[in-house]
Structures are given as structure tokens and as C-alpha cells.
Symmetry: C2
Subunit: 201 residues, 2 copies
């Protein structure tokens, strides 16, 4: 195996294991030694590839938030109409909210550090505001195509994003407290009913 191969191999091994640890135990409770042990590398390798534990975390959330944005964009752009697009989104989120504790845990870690650590905050807020914009754009499209009534796109977008975040939050806190996938689906249905265009008006 050549240098670049084994380099990327240990790098990704560290990142993968760090993701798991951060998600399941939290950033603070996860030690560098622990990540290294589970990844099968030494501390030397860790600090050869990364400046600090913090940079690993930042790199993780960065790639993760970018991935999410791409996913959101593709779902939005592929949808025929806005209501079906929203339902598509709900369908995509459902398995995540129901089974993927890893993703939920990472989200939680992200949120709890974003409001205290300046670097994490700036790495989080920018993509998050773009998510708001994606949602708002979707609503605008819905108004333009006639499927949605005359609602405020920005407010409605923020409502949708807040609802998603809140559902993620509750699902990660209390996974068995409700059928979260169903709650998600019905919530979207309910909101859609509220913002869809009423013809009789």
C-alpha cells in the first residue's frame, strides 16, 4: 500500500470512529485516546493528521452539514410540486428519525456546542441559514406554482426548519416516547393543510 492510501485510510478511520464516539457519548466525554484505540491507531497518528480534537469535530460537522444541504437541494429540485416535495422530505427524514441514533446524536452534539464555541457556531450557522433559504425558496415556488396560499415564505421556512429540529431533538431524547416518524408525517400534513391554497377564496 502506498503512502497516500494508508494515509487516507487512517484518516478516515479516525474520522469514522470520532463520529461514532461523539454521537454516542458526546464531545466532552470522548477522549482522544478512546478514539485512537477504537480506530486502531496511536495518538501520534491522530496528531499527525489533525491539529486537535476540536478540528476533528469541526471537520466532521462541516462535511456532515454539507451532505445534508446537498440532500435537501436534491429532494427539493426533484419534486414535481411543493406539497409532494415536502412529503418527500418527510419520507427521507423518517428512517433517520426512527432508527439512526448516530445522526441524531451528532446533531445534538452540534447544537449544544454551537451556542458556546465560537468556531462551532460559525461553522453551523452559515449552513443552517442556507437551509432556511432552501425552505423559504420552496415555499416561494409553491406560491408561484399555485399550490400554496399567500403565506410569508421566510416565516414559513423557519417554521418548517424549527419543526424538523424540534422533532429531531425529541426523537433523540425520547426515542420510544412516540412514533416520531408518524408525528413527522402528520405534522407536515397538518401544516400543508394550513398553507395550501384554498380555491373557494
Amino acid at each position: 500500500m502506498n503512502n497516500t492510501q494508508r494515509s487516507t485510510q487512517t484518516r478516515t478511520a479516525i474520522l469514522d470512529e470520532a463520529t461514532r464516539c461523539f454521537a454516542s457519548e458526546g464531545y466532552d466525554a470522548t477522549g482522544v485516546a478512546e478514539i485512537c484505540e477504537k480506530a486502531g491507531v496511536s495518538k501520534g497518528a491522530f496528531y499527525y493528521h489533525f491539529d486537535s480534537k476540536e478540528t476533528v469535530f469541526l471537520e466532521l460537522i462541516d462535511s456532515w452539514l454539507k451532505n445534508l444541504e446537498v440532500t435537501l437541494q436534491s429532494v427539493v429540485s426533484q419534486s414535481e410540486t411543493v406539497p409532494t416535495g415536502l412529503l418527500d422530505m418527510a419520507g427521507r427524514l423518517q428512517p433517520v428519525i426512527e432508527h439512526n441514533q448516530e445522526i441524531l446524536g451528532l446533531f445534538l452534539e452540534l447544537w449544544s456546542h454551537a451556542s458556546r464555541n465560537e468556531k462551532v457556531r460559525s461553522a453551523t450557522i452559515a449552513p443552517y441559514r442556507r437551509y432556511q433559504e432552501i425552505f423559504a425558496g420552496l415555499v416561494r415556488r409553491g406560491i408561484a406554482e399555485g399550490t400554496l396560499g399567500e403565506v410569508d415564505p421566510i416565516i414559513t421556512g423557519q417554521l418548517l426548519l424549527s419543526l424538523s429540529s424540534g422533532l429531531f431533538l425529541q426523537a433523540s431524547m425520547d426515542p420510544t416516547g412516540a412514533d416520531w416518524g408518524k408525528v413527522l408525517h402528520n405534522s407536515i400534513d397538518l401544516i400543508l393543510k394550513g398553507i395550501e391554497r384554498k380555491d373557494e377564496k
Copy 2:
């Protein structure tokens, strides 16, 4: 000053300062020494009154969640109709979401630890489920009094709670990212429009 007086005085001093620290810096980043220093007491006093740092945190969130429940109950019970009750709630939450970083910070800390620490989880989930029940009961009342349409009370309650949580989350992460008070108000308005009884039907 007699013994019981000064005892409760230092006790509450510790609890107050712990609240501030946990909220602004987070549980892990807050040291026992820091709490003691700001509260003007010694470590000896701290461990004379509390078993551990964790028990302080648990006591804090317990009283805090109980307070919240009382507040929710009172707002709900004092409202004339359900729609006005929801708008009242939004009005109550608005100053919190706009200005009170302390409360938001504590919430964040609560959430991030509830999914990892078993004691925190059990202390959190029980009241949270009661909140869901309060919201669901409010919706049921609305259907009964004829102000709301035939929506699912449980799902709608969870929707409302998720939305609130999500708004809290975003407001604490990105306080200047939006006029969160306005978003809250408009979101409630929008949902109300969706679930209010339509007479023409």
C-alpha cells in the same frame, strides 16, 4: 442569623450560581470551584450541602421543569378559548425566546445530557411527556368547544411541543438569525389557521 437561615442562604447561592454557569458555559465546562467562587462559598460548603456536581444539576432541572409545568398549566387553564390560549402561550414565550439567554442555555444543557445520562434522561422525559399531555388536552378542549377542527390531539400536541423546542433551539444557537419572537407568533398563527374549525364545511 440562625443556622437554618444561613444554611438555606448558601444553598440557594450555590444553586443560583450553578444555574448561571451551567446555562452560559455548559455543564462540563463549569467547574465546582468556579461555582463556589462566584457564589462566595468554599468547596467545603458545596459538598456539605450536595453530594456531587451531578446532584446539583439534577436538582436544578427538576425544579425548573416543575416550574415550567405550573406555568403551562396556569396559562392553559386561564385561557378563554383554545386559540387565545395558544396565543397567550406564544406571548409568554416571546420574551424568553428573545432575551433570556439563561433559560435557553439551560434548556440546551438539559437536552444534550438527557440522551446520554440515564439520571438526567429520566428526570427530563417524565415532565416532557406531561407537557405533551397538556398540549394534547388543550387541543381536545378546542375540539370540544368547537374552535378546532377534528385533528388528532396527540399528534397536534406533539407538533406544538416540537415546534416550541425547535424554536428554542434555533434561538439559542443563532439569536440574531431571525426575529424569533415574530417567527413564534406567526408560526402559531399559521398552525391555528390550519387546525381551526372551518364553518363552511
